[in-house]
């Protein structure tokens, strides 16, 4: 009894620490301590779980924890910040997989030993198993796509119908397992898991790289939900609370992401938009792109009063963030006010660009969100766009025929001068021509991001 009570108290404390930890993560000042608090909650919950009555296989358990921890620790320490989204997807998939496996153990025990479960519990176990399995296989595909292991998207006619059919089949199997209870055949349970795995793969394959942030966020929410459901099955309050908190937080985050792209979640999941390279025609963009030399840009920036830098994922690909910060410091030394404007969907994850800039040493108080900075563009003497394209395309405001119409954008076109660093003349991932590039006050600085910024640094130094 005493041990039971100790376990309950510890789980309660862990749940409190998780919530307070997440709460502290809502400000950059306290965020670091937030994760540490949550970490202690996890350590506490894990340690007391060894004290559960009638625990067997403790040796195996320690081996599994040790092995999993070491592999995860080493990989987590090594991963580059640019590759963070796929790594988070992978860890998330592992959590979903764990939840599904817990359900598997429960279901196998039920079938094998006639260990009956209450109907609601059985139902939750099955639903949790499905969600967790989908999160596992879906996250693995998301990882493979972001890592570049799967390069093409899979789109074919009737894809949604096939997925729907598969979903119906899984529902049917799940219903049969719940209805038959202890009389379910083992192969039925196995088939259920296999189909769920396949389903996770099929729904993730057609989704393009640019939509991955939404998908990762969604799978994160799903894993939380699966953990909560398995928490019901095991009667574990810590799992219910932590899982549900993550489930709802993840849902909110997913909605915010989808909103930033001006698309519904259903549209992200079922339209295959982010994977298409040819898009609607829309109005023809008039004018020509006007090239500029780095030395001229350096003069413009060096003698400016206000400069706004808009970094996109292309900057991270070119690994130019450190150079950008070096340039910023030079400009600041010349009393130029420099701000960074970040679009919510820049990067491969919500807030990814902030992490990449933070890594380069850019203080977070120089970084501004779309809503905070859009009013400042008319006062910007020079707006430098590096590696961003669709998020600064004014066509999103003006052309109802454009596939990106309605997406909130950074109003770079409203600034006094805009300079775009770009490798070539191609369109963005959505395949839409960018009206900004053709605007009268826009100049194009062609070349590799890192090389061009280095050149700007050299030129500004000579002013």
């Amino acid at each position: 009894m005493d041990i039971k009570l100790l376990i309950e108290i510890s789980y309660f404390l862990a749940a409190v620490l998780f919530i307070l930890g997440l709460k502290r993560m809502s400000s950059p000042v306290t965020a670091r301590s937030g994760i540490v608090w949550a970490g202690w909650g996890m350590v506490l919950a894990t340690l007391v779980s060894f004290l559960y009555p009638q625990m067997q296989n403790v040796g195996l358990m320690i081996l599994a924890i040790g092995l999993g921890s070491v592999i995860a620790y080493v990989s987590a320490k090594k991963v580059a910040m640019t590759d963070m989204p796929q790594m988070i997807a992978l860890y998330n998939g592992l959590g979903g997989g764990a939840a599904a496996l817990i359900a598997a153990v429960e279901l196998i025990r039920m079938v094998g030993h006639g260990h009956a479960l209450i109907n609601t519990v059985l139902l939750l176990a099955v639903v949790g198993a499905f969600i967790g399995t989908v999160a596992l296989s879906g996250s693995i595909i998301a990882f493979a796509k972001l890592q570049g292991l799967i390069r093409r998207s899979w789109n074919f006619n009737g894809q949604n119908q096939i997925n729907l059919l598969l979903f119906a089949l899984i529902l049917l199997l799940g219903a049969v397992i719940v209805a038959q209870g202890t009389h379910s055949a083992l192969w039925l349970v196995a088939g259920f898991f296999v189909l769920a795995l396949v389903f996770g793969v099929l729904i993730t394959l057609p989704i393009g790289g640019a939509d991955m942030p939404v998908v990762i966020s969604l799978f994160n929410a799903l894993t939380g939900l699966a953990v909560a459901f398995e928490g019901f099955v095991l009667g574990n309050a810590a799992m219910i609370i932590a899982g549900t908190v993550v489930g709802s937080a993840g849902t909110l985050l997913t909605q915010l992401m989808a909103k930033a792209m001006n698309r519904s979640l259903a549209n992200v999941l079922f339209s295959g938009f982010g994977s298409k390279t040819s898009a609607g025609s829309g109005e023809a963009v008039t004018g020509a792109m006007k090239p500029i030399e780095a030395s001229d840009v350096a003069v413009m920036m060096g003698y400016a009063e206000n400069v706004i830098i808009i970094p996109g994922y292309g900057m991270a690909v070119a690994q130019a963030q450190h150079k950008i910060w070096e340039l910023t410091k030079l400009l600041q030394a010349r009393n130029v006010k420099v701000k960074f404007a970040i679009h919510p969907v820049a990067g491969r994850m919500p807030g990814h660009m902030n992490v990449l800039l933070a890594e380069a040493g850019v203080p977070y108080d120089l970084i501004f969100d779309l809503e905070e900075i859009n009013a400042d563009f008319p006062q910007s003497d020079v707006t430098l766009v590096i590696g961003a394209n669709d998020v600064v395309n004014p066509v999103a405001r003006t052309d109802p025929n454009s596939p990106i119409y309605g997406m909130p954008i950074l109003n770079a076109d409203k600034s006094k001068n805009t300079v775009v660093i770009k490798r070539g003349q191609g369109a963005g991932f959505s395949g839409v021509e960018n009206g900004l590039f053709f605007a009268d006050n826009t100049r194009m600085l062609y070349g590799d991001g890192q090389k061009m910024v280095s050149e700007l640094i050299a030129q500004v130094k000579e002013l």
Partner: protein, 95 residues
């Protein structure tokens, strides 16, 4: 054991808590936050431990082992990447 409606109440309140806690997070922290919440559902580790601890047949043991392995990977990996990211966020005043 948590039963019936009590569980439902926990579920509802926890859902609101998650929504409220996250709704005030600035965009700049979205990635660490997602990663942090990813770490929090690593609590699935305690469930996996119970599943393995009560496993009887070899099949159950094997699945339970995998569950603990996965869950530990989720928890540790999630923690380390979140901490690494948050460590980098600095204000100009601090420099």
């Amino acid at each position: 054991m948590i039963e019936g409606f009590l569980a439902l109440y926990i579920f509802m309140l926890a859902a609101f808590t998650g929504y409220e806690v996250i709704s005030k997070v600035p965009v700049i922290l979205h990635t660490p936050l997602m990663s942090g919440s990813n770490f929090v559902h690593g609590i699935v580790l305690v469930g996996a431990m119970v599943a393995l601890g009560h496993a009887q047949t070899t099949l159950e043991q094997a699945i339970g082992f995998l569950a603990v392995l996965f869950a530990a990977g989720n928890a540790v990996g999630g923690y380390v990447v979140t901490e690494r990211m948050l460590e980098m966020f600095k204000s100009s005043k601090g420099q």
